[in-house]
């Protein structure tokens, strides 16, 4: 994994510190990281390791330092050493050859949704066709479970199995035999349950590379979604193929915000009313836990707003009356939406 950090870092033209690739892989929603992804054309890797903890990622970065592959030039810039260059060239081919679309399919977790849904869907269809109604399901989160539930409401196990079989056969045929087997071995049926990636790593292969191949298969499967894929999956593919978090207009506002524009400037740039942009900000705060609410309302004010909200049943006008001139409606909405969006128990 540290080699991937190094590989990505090499593409950043010696202008960043090693934390650059860390944030890109983790999928940090900051203007700096998003800019870097576009500027250095690192879409392939964006958000790919969103499930890896920062702790682990920083450890990997530290390993690069310990091995003498990179060294700091200043607090914000690292450079690659000669031994770093040599080390990078060893695994470069693997990283260049694997086909990935992180920015499209990992950034918002679509690949996980897709894999968990497919995995459970295939297991369920397979068991039902074998006449087995009771089985321990593979791991699936609520989204995947709901997806599968509604798919079986619309189609029979026979239809689903047939559609999946033809589509997967066609798609896997396009790949190497080892890729195709990597995918089918991970699936579960009544006769045998799926293997973990660790169990499937072929001898001599780095487990992390196996994992990358697996993600690559999934990205291509999502990409193939369309007229060729099973009809029952159409709606899901549409979801997975589009950025879903914000309305289109709010998305534009976010891009400007990430590029460093402030609220007034965005309104001027987009020739929209300030209140419209405020709406977008509220939307962003609700969908993005990293949104810097503190910039618009200090911690003390947030506390007051929340306290007022809990005693007044959350009605904006009542809150405003309690708080007085200290906060405007925008600030109140922003604070409230950032809270509820996070799903904190306080507001449930």
């Amino acid at each position: 994994m540290d080699r991937l950090l190094l590989h990505i870092f090499m593409h950043m033209n010696g202008q960043r510190s090693i934390s650059g690739p860390v944030h890109i892989l983790k999928g940090k929603r900051s203007s700096q990281t998003i800019q870097d992804i576009h500027l250095f054309r690192l879409h392939k890797w964006a958000g790919l390791l969103r499930h890896t903890s920062y702790g682990t990622l920083w450890e990997q970065a530290q390993r690069l330092r310990d091995q003498g592959f990179i060294e700091p030039i200043s607090s914000t810039v690292d450079s690659v050493t000669q031994s770093g260059l040599d080390a990078e060239s060893v695994s470069r081919k693997v990283f260049e050859n694997v086909r990935l679309s992180g920015w499209k399919y990992e950034w918002e977790g679509h690949t996980d949704d897709c894999w968990r849904t497919l995995n459970l869907l295939i297991q369920t269809a397979s068991h039902l066709k074998a006449g087995r109604k009771q089985f321990i399901p593979v791991y699936a989160d609520t989204t995947a479970k709901q997806n599968v539930r509604s798919l079986f409401r619309e189609a029979s196990a026979e239809q689903i199995a047939e559609g999946l079989y033809e589509w997967l056969y066609r798609e896997l045929l396009k790949r190497s035999r080892s890729d195709a087997e990597l995918f089918t071995d991970s699936l579960s049926g009544p006769d045998r349950s799926g293997k973990t990636l660790g169990q499937m790593t072929s001898s001599g292969e780095v487990p992390f590379h196996t994992w990358l191949r697996f993600r690559s298969i999934l990205h291509d499967l999502i990409e193939s979604g369309g007229p060729e894929s099973p009809e029952c999956l159409n709606t899901l593919f549409k979801q997975w193929k589009q950025k879903k978090e914000l309305t289109r207009s709010a998305e534009k506002t976010r891009e400007l915000f990430m590029a460093g524009y402030d609220l007034q400037q965005i309104a001027a740039e987009r020739r929209l009313k300030v209140s419209t942009i405020e709406d977008h900000f509220v939307e962003m705060a609700a969908s993005d836990p990293e949104f810097p609410v503190d910039v618009y309302a200090a911690a003390e004010l947030q506390r007051e707003i929340l306290q007022a909200a809990s005693t007044s049943g959350g009605r904006l006008r009542d809150i405003r009356e309690r708080i007085g001139e200290k906060a405007d409606y925008f600030q109140i909405r922003l604070v409230l939406s950032s809270r509820t969006g996070k799903g904190g128990t306080a507001y449930l």
């Binding site: 066709k129 321990i136 609520t142 089918t184 579960s188 045998r192 509820t340 996070k342 799903g343």
Partner: protein, 468 residues
């Protein structure tokens, strides 16, 4: 069960879910199940759903806001709802529950309410109040292990009403108990290699660390189909390994104590311990996973001074010292308005204890500080951790004397739970020699080769005989 409060002590978990699943289906209204183990709860829900029970859901802090909202919306249609205890602190959830008829309130892992239990969840102490608020439904308290002291605590703190007490013995006569004191690490692993060959399968090897679990799985993997299981793996991997062990394609599983609860596998023949559990309660639970089908099984404990030191260290470091609290907790508290679960460098249990304590003292209300915490507040909290640590150490001492004493192992366990001992054949390594025990019938798979065949097998299982 006929409308009266019940306390059931069921040492091996077997049929525990059944205890409330059956009544919940017969009773009108909602059965609420409170359980402290979120992952276990999800397993239970999954298992019930896989048996065709669609009106079962779980509500935990791990769900997103939208998911919680969806479940609350569906609440009137459900007949069983699993909750983690902190969910019951939310006024909104309590409000919704109050509007429904709750016919049965199940408190799972009820020993968590007692500070004398081997696991302690301070937020369990608020349950009696919640039950009262929910128009006092009938209460069913369940636990796998309870010494008489813990049992008394459960009755009192849950305010059970002349409960009917159902107690199954902790004695598992079909499990031969063996304790081996080793001198050092090398001896332990040498002995383990021999035991891997000698002991019947399927086998669980419990280890003290994730690294040990991985090592043991690698060693076992040379001669058997083996896998490891620990909390450092993704939920996806863990479920995959669980499925493989249950179906039998993996016959040796090396796991930390993250594995076991909620797993329904009846034909496990041997359980090996490479670490010393922190209490006899936990030891009994872990060994009790063997032989649920009633056939002969064996539990072997391999430990020595290094294992003693490891567990001692774990107990000492699990709860923070006062100095840690002053250093890490106080400054964070003074900057935050909400109780900062994520930013504290302590385990979840520690945070929850603190949260509960401050809620009780009025410093915290609905997860929000009412004033800035001071040194004295932290000092009082520190004393709670200290008392808890002393109890934990005493429990571990029992475990130590258990495996070093020359008294019958079974007798020691039964005395600890204040049960009468009876002599039996094939009892333990103190009383006699290890009996011959056969492995369960092992998994046989006519595995297809090639991805094309595998696809056909998955999507057209009815055609399987055509392709071979």
């Amino acid at each position: 069960m006929k409308g009266e409060d019940t306390l059931a002590v069921l040492p091996t978990g077997g049929g525990k879910t059944l205890c409330y699943d059956l009544p919940s289906r017969m009773l009108q209204g909602l059965t609420v199940v409170v359980s402290p183990l979120v992952s276990l709860m999800q397993d239970q829900v999954t298992q019930l759903q896989s048996q065709g029970r669609r009106r079962v859901e779980s509500l935990t802090g791990q769900l997103s806001f939208q998911e919680k909202k969806d479940i609350l919306y569906r609440l009137p249609q459900l007949n069983m709802l699993f909750l983690s205890p902190e969910m019951l602190q939310s006024e909104r959830i309590k409000e919704r529950l109050k509007q429904l008829t709750i016919s049965l309130f199940v408190v799972d892992e009820a020993h968590c309410i007692s500070q004398w239990g081997h696991e302690f969840r301070p937020d369990y102490k608020s349950l009696a109040g919640v039950i009262e608020e929910l128009h006092r439904p009938v209460v069913l308290a369940l636990t796998a292990t309870a010494t008489p002291q813990v049992e008394a605590d459960i009755k009192e703190l849950l305010k059970l009403n002349h409960p009917f007490i159902y107690r199954r013995s902790v004695n598992r006569r079909n499990i031969f108990l063996e304790a081996v004191k080793v001198e050092n690490r090398e001896e332990k692993w040498e002995r383990l290699e021999r035991e891997m060959e000698a002991l019947p399968k399927p086998m669980i090897i419990y280890t003290g660390t994730r690294k040990e679990a991985e090592e043991a799985a690698a060693k076992a993997g040379r001669n058997f189909s083996a896998a490891c299981y620990h909390a450092g793996m993704s939920p996806e991997e863990r479920r995959a390994v669980q499925l493989q062990f249950v179906e039998g394609s993996v016959s040796v599983l090396a796991a930390t104590n993250a594995f076991g609860m909620g797993i329904n596998k009846k034909d496990i023949r041997s359980v090996v311990h490479l670490y010393l559990p922190p209490s006899l309660e936990q030891y009994v639970q872990e060994t009790g996973r063997a032989g649920r089908d009633g056939s002969d099984s064996i539990a072997v404990l391999l430990a020595g001074p290094e294992e003693e030191r490891l567990q001692m260290h774990l107990i000492q470091s699990a709860l923070p010292e006062k100095s840690d609290l002053f250093r890490y907790m106080l400054p964070v508290f003074q900057q935050q308005i909400d109780f900062p679960h994520e930013t504290l460098p302590f385990p979840e249990v520690v945070n929850r204890t603190a949260e509960h304590h401050f809620e009780q003292s009025g410093l915290l209300k609905n997860g929000r500080f009412q004033r800035v915490p001071e040194r004295e507040d932290i000092d009082r909290l520190g004393s709670i951790y200290e008392a808890r640590r002393r109890i934990k150490l005493r429990q571990f001492e029992k475990m130590l004397s258990f495996y070093t004493d020359t008294e019958c192992l079974r007798k020691q366990i039964l005395r600890y739970f204040q049960e009468e001992a009876e002599a039996q054949q094939n009892c333990c390594s103190v009383c006699g020699l290890r009996p011959e025990i056969a492995s369960s019938q092992l998994f046989f798979s006519n595995e297809e080769t090639g991805w094309e065949n595998r696809l056909i097998q998955l999507f057209y299982p009815e055609r399987r005989h055509e392709i071979t």
